[in-house]
Amino acid sequence: MKSYFNTGKGIQLQPIDIGHPRYFGLVSADTAFWSLIRKDRMAYALARPSFLETYRRKEKYFVEEMNTLRFGRKPFAVYFNPTDRCNLNCPYCYIPEKMRRHGRNMPSFKMLRALKILKSYFRQTLPKNIKPQIIFHGAEPMLNKETVLEVIRRFADDFQFGIQTNGTLLDAETIDFLVSKNISIGMSLDGHTEVVAGRLRKTWDGRGVFSEVVSAIRQLRGYTNYSVICTVTKENMPHLADIIEFLHEEKVPVCMLNPLRCTSPASRPHKPKDSRFAAHYLKALDRSFELYKKTGRRIVIANFANVLVGILAPSARRLMCDISPCGGGRCFFAVSARGDAFACSEFIGLSRFKGGNIFKDKIKTILESKAFKLVTGRKVENIHPCAQCAIRHFCGSPCPAEAHQMNGSMEKIGAFCEFYEEQVRYAMRLIADGKEEGFLWDGWDKGTSVSLEISTL
């Protein structure tokens, strides 16, 4: 077996500068194979037949693995909006203001019918031992609380339920109920102080909601199935490390520091500059590691952990934004309060991307609709500069909605290319230094096995 690389049918390997004093990265982009090579031994490593042959023996499997991950998944989760409405008016929301202000709740009888339809669909498509996920999302799902709780009670044996809420309507009784049912709860909080958190997340009359959300977080203390999402904007970007410190002190187990999506024009004035955001984000990651070393307790920054997992075990990733095609329309889809189906919640409000209505159309037909294909057909191979980028399968060029709405087409990049570059470089530096476990959730590799390991002195 020949061990040539970068010629003919040989392995394609791209060196990348990961910003480490001793290591370069060497990546085969199509298979998401990566290695870290000591800078002073690059020629030695590449000349060792055992290195390239070890990879070559696995290459076919890696191709199949990436194909399955990228094109072979079946929907397993539904992001379900029980209402169009929200009691907050955050300017970066992807749901149009008119809908959030004047929209409707899905009536109880319709939501029960919707769940029956979804149950029936998943029974046909998923193995019996797998419970599909329903995540109540928004807008603010707790504005239709009684119906949501009723649905959870009735379908507890059929679905795993989750809820993403702004936290303002979570009273003690509701929290007790959600915890008793082991519901996965996500809450939104954009700052560590009333001032920072209230810069953009406000009620319709302009009042911040920091104290209500922190009160709900405190009531959830000790519950492991919850997380906090912090949407990063120009307004809170300089405070990310302090936000991590605050959430760690509040014993929040998992959070996300997600840049705002630029799908809606109203969000774009709040977009942080890519490079500045990346710098603050990396400082927040550093702070999370310092806190871990100091206290022995982690706060996992899940969107970064997912990038790291995507490198260490591509199929173990939990978030499906940073793989191409993204998970929209193929791993999950979204249902609005009217029953309209979209590949992802991000498209709710963009009628062109409506794939059908779950009360009128078969789900199979919706999944094969032109609107869904627009999303599921977006892949990095067709995007410039992603097609040449070594880390295209660690990033995935998210997000199709913002690429389409902000940059003009599905063949354009999303809003935060540099941010992803820096995340991958940081992740590889951690691996080079053996620090990666400090950034991952417990049991991240449960159910995995080793498919390749090279560690050469």
């Binding site: 397993f76 996500g186 999402i229 969107n303 791993c331 096995s449 090279i454 050469t456």
Partner: protein
């Protein structure tokens, strides 16, 4: 400490794990499922 010194000397580091894919989260939400 000894392990750390050995790690620092490694010429090549490469590893990968495999599993059945089941992720369905997105940037608006991550499913937490700890029992």
């Amino acid at each position: 400490m000894k392990n750390r010194k050995v790690k620092a000397k490694r010429t090549i580091i490469a590893r990968r794990k495999k599993c059945k894919a089941s992720g369905a989260g997105l940037s608006h939400y991550i499913f937490q499922d700890k029992k």
